[in-house]
């Protein structure tokens, strides 16, 4: 069973606009949620995280929102830039292990 799901395999956004990536989870025992960004032929790089006791965390252009009642989190990127084109993975943490979603490929169009 897929504990962490990213239901949109791809997303296309115009440069300068907002990108919103979504993630759903099923296990209420997860205590942290993270977003990673991955370029081709490179390892994933950590972007931003949020504790399960928070509902929002912001870091520059990146904001993560957590809705625990809906078991849903989202990553907002404002404004979107060409360098943001990558695959984004959400991940959920429990007991020193991460469970990843399938990833969403974000393309920023000029």
């Amino acid at each position: 069973d897929q504990q962490v799901k990213q239901n949109s395999p791809s997303l296309s956004v115009q440069e300068g606009r907002i990108s919103i990536l979504n993630c759903d989870y099923t296990n209420s025992m997860f205590d942290y949620f993270l977003w990673y960004k991955k370029y081709p032929a490179e390892g994933p790089t950590f972007l931003i995280s949020i504790s399960s006791i928070k509902d929002k965390n912001e870091d520059g252009r990146f904001t993560v929102f957590l809705n625990k009642s809906a078991k849903h989190l989202s990553l907002h990127i404002v404004p979107s830039q060409p360098g943001d084109s990558a695959v984004y993975f959400c991940a959920a943490h429990r007991a020193q292990k991460l469970v990843f979603g399938q990833g969403t490929r974000l393309t920023i169009n000029p």
Partner: protein, 115 residues
Amino acid sequence: DAGITQSPRHKVTETGTPVTLRCHQTENHRYMYWYRQDPGHGLRLIHYSYGVKDTDKGEVSDGYSVSRSKTEDFLLTLESATSSQTSVYFCAISDSTSGGGETQYFGPGTRLLVL
């Protein structure tokens, strides 16, 4: 960037041959992980280590074994490679002393092709 290297970066092998992938870290982090990435599946945990000689299975451990004889090195072995093990393999590390220890840092990956 966290000091994590993986070797080899690319490997082509034949079905039935043994393969060992190496992960080396210079951060002295306690936890080390092996993942595989396949289309439509994201990253799936194969095995992880919580200290020297302390390892445990992940979600997709069948056909894989690991060893950690030193803090800095974590080896992943495919005893008899199969075509279904063709994948990109990533090593990751985390430090349990930082916050909740939830953030993992990844190596550059090893692309393995089993013919």
